[in-house]
């Protein structure tokens, strides 16, 4: 099957292939495959003999797959959880950036003398290398300078560390910067014109991060247009359109969205001789250690990264970044720890965003729905970075005879984009899934039926069946715009697609202590998605001890390396390593206590929290009592991720979102009373948390579709809404009734058979589903985001288009 692996995430997959160890001894096991109630069966898999026994389906398990309270919920709601901004070290200083006040300029001078003299200031730094921006292929095109060229308003220029946050605020204001301002451009359409100011004087590329982001390298560049990056699949595209009975075509325009995690980017850096300790709000403790070690040329043994709690990350929190590097430099200079947390304005401006998109999609089909051709041309701006491609859904969702996609990045004087929850996919699906809806109407085929004909994914087929049987879908009037009166109801659906990525950098240690306590350790961080809870559930299942009693120690690079959380890899990557370690530690434990009971490890097993002898050599004894027989304080085992059992059996992940809208055609308001989200994520390890992620993704998708937009003033290049007041995010009254239907889907790939959910969850499909519901309600197509009243009234033909200026 055609699995396009997002270019940005390719390194993960390559790492997976490269890291495959020497071939271990294997045996054949039978594993559950498919969806219970629909397609469940068993299939053979060749697996290493060292693997634990095949895990049964969730209904037969005690802890895994059961709704489980978040392991650290109590710490979070009671304020005991310490986030990066809560870290308080003796003598700690407070860091603050001075950021560029203009969007494009050469910096002629930076005078820090007044700031240095300000009482309480302990170190001042002028930044000589800025991370995150694209870099010229030929650096000689620009005159070398001590100071980086300013490519966007908000780019960090200098920083101070002082004894209080207030002093740091005051001191940065004393830094004098002289600029030689250059012409700039902030909107994508203007930047595409041949006479536009150029963001870079020549071709430039952006490095990606562990979370993806960054566009293709080495593609042609004309002016600000970095591309096209062309992908062709199947037959000739022109022939495909000639073979079509019906063609649909549309232009879809989406806006820049910023990540807006509740916790901003930030670190506490403590530079001591021989050890740099960093507390970071990060999606990858490993990625942070990696970048610190590289940047400062330190051995990894001298960098320790700690992320015990994290307040959200959607793809933009990897590596040291500018805040990390600068905080470490300030700390080194001052000889004291430095805390540097960004404020909300900096968060909007300088640490990533989802690029906008301007797409023209054209689809050809036979009368029976068979797709003969999909053609997509896209332009998008990732500011002074790249990574605005959005062809993933068009490439990977359906079966087609011919595909031709051309993706273009457009440089503008805005902050560089970063990976953002399913990079490119919400944009791409917004166009693709509305075009498919349009096609269904033209062909007079019901939208679910059309997808049954063109979508080969076996799990989405089940999901569409769930939708078909739902009360919400049954309430849909297939006639568009049927309601009289100003408020019109509609129901629409759209599909999402995401991919199975595995990080081989996933390992864990499990310890059994003589007092019967159990502990799991991994450097993995918990973004808030709940991996701590899942790790506890795995040990609980192996030892029959409730998850709340398991000690989960994560978020520290002193523990075995964990995966960086990007691409929805965490649960799929780490849980098999944890189960393997738990299994191996259990075997060691049973061997340790067997002599005390006059038997061997092979004779012993742990069932429902008791150690039992298979041959009846001993009465069952509680696990805790048995542990008392250990001769050492603890036994432990460490395991790493082994490759998936059979990668030839991969399918994409996905889901189907169904949205009900009430469109007020006089005010232009779209109200969403209900959403049904039908999703798969392999084996749901903790349904409570999976549902929580789907809720979150759906809400984030609604917020993106209806409200959020970064507004850059065209005349000054400055952001006019760098807050959470005028940068509009869904509030409590904007949240619909959310119904999540989880589809358990066994794929037979690892000892837990877990998959990922973060990116497929809601956000990919919900925008197009709202668009399709809008059409169902009104008979008009909504091809622009955000769907604010002015745009809705424009789509209904009541006012002229006022959004993106033509």
């Amino acid at each position: 099957m055609a699995t396009h692996l997002d270019t940005a995430l390719d390194p993960l997959v390559q790492a997976a292939a490269a890291a495959a160890p020497a071939k271990p001894e294997k045996h054949t096991v039978m594993m559950p495959i498919g969806v219970p109630g629909y397609t469940l069966r068993t299939e053979a898999r060749e697996v290493p003999v060292s693997e634990p026994p095949v895990l049964a389906v969730n209904s037969e398990l005690e802890f895994i797959g059961k709704p489980t309270e978040r392991w650290d919920a109590h710490y979070k709601v009671s304020g005991q959880a310490k986030y990066t901004a809560d870290i308080q070290l003796p003598g700690m200083l407070y860091g603050r950036f001075l950021n560029a006040s203009v969007p494009h300029a050469k910096v002629l001078s930076v005078d820090v003398s007044a700031a240095e003299k300000y009482p309480g200031v302990k170190s001042v730094l002028v930044i000589e290398r800025v991370l995150g921006n694209a870099e010229l292929r030929d650096p000689k095109l620009e005159t070398p300078s001590r100071y980086p060229i300013v490519r966007y308003a908000g780019q960090p220029i200098a920083a101070v560390a002082a004894t209080s946050a207030h002093i740091a605020d005051e001191a940065v204001k004393l830094i004098m910067v002289t600029y030689e301002e250059m012409p700039f451009v902030t909107d994508q359409l203007s930047a595409r014109k041949t006479d536009s100011p150029q963001v870079y004087p020549g071709a430039a590329d952006q490095a990606g991060s562990a979370g993806g982001g960054g566009g293709p390298h080495g593609v042609p560049q004309t002016g600000n247009v970095h591309g096209p990056s062309i992908n062709k699949k199947g037959g000739d595209i022109e022939q495909g359109f000639k073979d079509a009975d019906v063609i649909v075509e549309g232009r879809y325009v989406t806006q820049v969205q910023t990540h807006s995690a509740l916790e901003t980017h930030g670190v506490v850096a403590d530079w001591k001789p021989g050890m740099l300790t960093v507390w970071a709000s990060t999606q990858g403790t490993g990625s942070v250690r990696e970048e610190f070690a590289q940047y400062f040329k330190l051995p990894k043994t001298q960098v320790r990264v700690i992320t015990e709690y994290m307040g959200g990350g959607f793809g933009a929190k990897f590596g040291a970044g500018n805040p990390g590097v600068v905080a470490a430099q300030l700390s080194q200079k001052a000889g004291a720890p430095v805390r540097l947390m960004l404020d909300r304005k900096e968060e909007h401006l300088s640490v990533g965003n989802r690029p906008d998109a301007d797409q023209i999609i054209r689809i050809g089909a036979k009368k029976d729905g068979t797709l003969t051709a999909i053609q997509l041309e896209s332009f998008g701006t990732a500011g002074c970075g790249t990574g605005a491609g959005c062809a993933g859904p068009a490439t990977n969702m359906y079966k087609y005879a011919a595909l031709h996609t051309a993706e273009n990045d457009v440089f503008t004087n805005g902050g560089p984009a970063a990976a953002f929850r399913a990079p490119g996919h919400p944009q791409g699906a917004f166009a693709l899934e509305q075009a498919i809806d349009e096609l269904a109407i033209k062909l007079a085929i019901e939208p679910l039926d059309l997808r049954d004909r063109i979508d080969e994914n076996s799990v989405r087929r089940v999901e569409r069946q769930v939708v078909r049987e739902s009360a919400l879908w049954k309430s849909r009037n297939p006639v568009a715009g049927a309601d009289s009166g100003p408020v019109k109801r509609g129901v629409g659906m759209a599909q999402s697609v995401w991919y199975r990525f595995i990080s081989m950098n996933s390992s864990a240690e499990v310890l059994v202590h003589r007092d019967g306590s159990l502990e799991v350790r991994s450097a993995v961080q918990d973004l808030g998605t709940g991996i701590k809870t899942v790790l506890a559930q795995i040990l609980a299942e192996e030892y029959g001890v409730p998850p709340a009693k398991i000690a989960v120690r994560i978020g520290d690079t002193n523990y075995p390396v964990g995966p960086d959380s990007g691409g929805s890899v965490t649960t799929a990557s780490l849980t098999p390593a944890v189960r393997d370690a738990a299994w191996q530690a259990k075997k060691k434990f049973l061997a340790e206590i067997a002599p005390a009971y006059g038997t061997t490890a092979d004779d012993l097993q742990i069932v429902k929290g008791e150690v039992r002898s298979k041959s009846g050599k001993m009465q069952p004894v509680s696990f805790q009592r048995a542990a008392g027989k250990m001769k050492v304080d603890s036994v432990s085992a460490q395991a790493r991720r082994i490759p998936d059992y059979d990668r030839s059996k991969y399918e994409t992940y996905g889901g189907v979102s169904v949205v009900e809208v009430n469109v007020d055609t006089e005010t232009g308001r779209i109200l969403i009373p209900r959403v049904l989200a039908v999703h798969d994520c392999g084996r749901p390890m903790n349904p409570t948390q999976v549902i929580s992620q789907i809720n979150g993704g759906t809400i984030q998708g609604i917020s993106y579709t209806l409200y959020e937009q970064r507004h850059l003033d065209p005349n000054t290049g400055l952001m006019v809404n760098p807050n959470l007041e005028q940068y509009k995010i869904a509030g409590s009254r904007d949240i619909p009734e959310l119904q999540v239907h989880l589809v358990e889907s066994y794929i037979g790939q690892s000892s837990t058979d877990a998959s990922g959910i973060g990116e497929a969850a809601g956000i990919v499909a919900v925008g197009a589903a709202i668009g399709n519901a809008f059409f169902n309600a009104t008979g008009y197509r909504m091809r622009r985001m955000p769907m604010v009243p002015s745009e809705v009234l424009a789509a209904l033909g009541k006012v002229p288009q006022g959004g993106l200026k033509a």
């Binding site: 408020v487 009430n662 005010t667 308001r669 109200l671 003033d713 809404n721 904007d734 006012v799 006022g802």
Partner: protein, 333 residues
């Protein structure tokens, strides 16, 4: 935020004695602290009036109702007398911002908040209304800006309670060391003019807004306020209307219609209200009034849609006031 002196006062006299030089009065602090955190103002001194007991309380009097300047928006929204007889005010206060803000924000502070414009409210833009040379909104991003009185500064009036009080023809009580004076809310706000672009109200630097007096409504009075935004939670109005109708049976005897987000000051739609007088309130008369309110509108490059939106806000709020339509689910808050 800059360093400042915090002068905590427990009496009006004490507060008045502290209001010298660059002092800024702080009540709930919602608007003042927001502008301080954004670096738009850097006052040397804050005069805190939240601990002055005499400025609290909702009092029914023979001539109407007296509201202390420190009454919170939540108190206004929840008050049974206001809900039944001064509905437009309870609506406006009870649907403002968020529950947290309504618990902190005071009536006086809400009336005294500065105009709304993202250029004006950012320290990055040295704009006309802050005493500088130019307005950034005319050629910039003006989708949320005014559609009337746009010749100097097209910011919009921020206070929904000002819209309601203007519709009710209330007055504000201004107190200084010299004594007290009453100013009708309809005359309290100053349209931006070239000579004094930074002036927003008629309040003098030595005066404190101490109370609001609302006349007792005539028999048969019904009123309502609704605002429309882009979101349902926590959003500023892109269109809103405060409507007070004096009904005799089915016929409207007197009407006041006030718009907030249409202009830099609350805008009394006199011609629109006149259309209702002597007629029964129907969807037809309400829609006609809504359209009439837009006569003379001068929308900017990106906010023409507001000329479509206001008539809808107006007709639906007239019908709500008249009891002929439920509160609109499309309205915010």
């Amino acid at each position: 935020m800059n360093k400042f002196i915090f002068s905590d006062c427990t009496s009006v006299d004490a507060a008045l004695s502290q209001m010298t030089g660059e002092a800024v009065v702080k009540a709930g602090g919602v608007d003042v602290l927001d502008r301080m955190k954004n670096g738009v103002i850097e006052p040397a001194k804050l005069v805190n009036i939240t601990n002055i007991p005499s400025l609290r309380g909702i009092h029914e009097t023979e001539t109407g109702v007296r509201l202390g300047a420190l009454v919170t928006l939540a108190e206004l929204g929840d008050h049974p007398l206001l809900q039944s007889q001064y509905t437009v005010l309870a609506d406006a206060a009870g649907h403002a911002a968020t529950p947290q803000i309504r618990n902190a924000a005071t009536l006086g502070g809400n009336l005294m908040q500065k105009v709304h414009c993202w250029y004006y409210r950012s320290a990055d833009f040295a704009c006309l209304r802050k005493g500088h040379d130019m307005c950034f909104a005319y050629d910039g991003l003006n989708q949320y800006h005014a559609i009337f009185d746009t010749n100097v500064c097209p910011s919009v009036a921020p206070s929904s309670t000002a819209v309601a009080l203007s519709a009710l023809n209330a007055s504000v009580e201004l107190t200084s060391a010299k004594g007290k004076r009453l100013v009708p809310v309809r005359e309290f706000y100053i349209k931006p003019d070239d000579k004094h672009p930074t002036m927003e109200t008629v309040i003098a630097p030595d005066e404190l807004l101490t109370a609001v007096l609302i006349p007792k409504p005539a028999a048969g009075t019904r009123s309502a306020y609704q605002k429309y935004g882009e979101k349902s939670s926590y959003d500023w109005a892109i269109a809103d209307a405060g409507v007070v109708l004096e009904m005799q049976g089915d016929v409207c005897r007197k009407a006041a219609i006030v718009l907030g987000a249409a202009s830099p000051t609350p805008r009394l739609a006199v011609d629109a209200a006149a259309l209702l007088v002597g007629k029964p309130i129907t969807e037809e008369t309400a829609r006609a009034a809504g359209l009439a309110a837009m006569q003379g509108a001068t929308p900017l490059s990106m906010n023409g849609y507001k000329v479509q939106l206001f008539p809808v806000a107006i007709y639906r709020t007239i019908l709500l006031a008249a009891g002929k339509m439920d509160r609109d689910p499309s309205a915010a808050g």
